[in-house]
Amino acid sequence: MKIKILVLTIFYLIGSFNLTYAANSEKVDQISKNLRCLICQGQSVYDSQSDFALSMKILIQNKISEGKNDEQIYDFLKSKYGEWIVYDPEINKNTVLLWVLPLILFVFGAILIIRKVSIK
C-alpha cells in the first residue's frame, strides 16, 4: 500500500511538473508570436531559429519564471528595442494613418454601394 502511494505521488509530481513546464512554453510561444525578429526580415521570434530569436525565447522563459506578466515583458522589450519589436503598433502620429485608413476605405466603399443601389 505504502509503495503504491509513493509511486502515485511520484507520478503526480512528474505530471504536474510537466504540466507547468508545458504551460510555460505555450506562454513563450504566445508571446514570441507577437514579437518581430529584428535581424531576420519578415519573421516573428517564434518562427525564427536565429541566435537572436533563440536567446529571446530563453529570456521570455526566464521572465515568466520570475513571475512577470505579458504586459511587463512587452514593456521591457519595448524599452530595449523600441516600439518596432511588437507587431501590434500603438496609435501615435506616425501610425494614425494605418489605423484610420481602413475605416476611411470602408466608409468610402459603403458610399459607393449605397449610391449604386439607390440609382437602380
Binding site: 541566435d51 529571446m56 528595442y81
Partner: protein, 177 residues
Amino acid sequence: MVKNIKLIAVVFLLIVSFFILLKGLNKTNNYSPKLNSSKIDFNFKAKFLYSDEESTLYELINDKDFSIINIWASWCLPCREEHSFLLNLKSLEKFNIIGINYKDNEINAKKFIKELGNPYSKIIVDPSGVNSIELGAYGVPETILINNNSKTILKKYIGPLDDKKLAELKMIIENEN
C-alpha cells in the same frame, strides 16, 4: 458625373500611395532603435572568461569616465575585422573596455584573444545570449559607449567598428568632457 468622381478618386489614391511609397524609399532599411530610456539597468550576474568569479556589469563600469561594451564571439568574422579598432581604442586609455563573449566556446574564445591580442579590461561570458538581449543587442559584433558617471548609453553601434565610427567615438567623448 459618377464616373468622374470614381476616376478622380482612383487618381487621388494613386497619387497618395505614390508619395507614401516614395517617402518609404528614402528611409534606410537598417533599423536602429530609438531608445526610450538610455539609462542602464544591467543588474544581471555574469561569469568572467578567465575566472570562475561572477560580477554584475554595473560593478564593472566604474573606473574611468567612459566604458565601452563590446559584444563579440570567436566564430564571428566581422569581430576579427574590428579587433584592431578595439586595440586602438584601448591604447587611448580613456575607456574601460568590457567584452561580452556571445554564445561562444570558451576554448575558442581564449584562442581568439591569444591570437589577436586582448583589448578588454574584463571579459564576461554570455553562453545563452540572454544577457546581450537584456542590453538590447541584436547580435555580434556590437559596441556600446557608456558614460560611467551618469550611467547612460551615449552611442550604440550595430556591426563592426570602422574608421568612421572610431572617429565619431573619439569626437563624442571629446564633446562630453
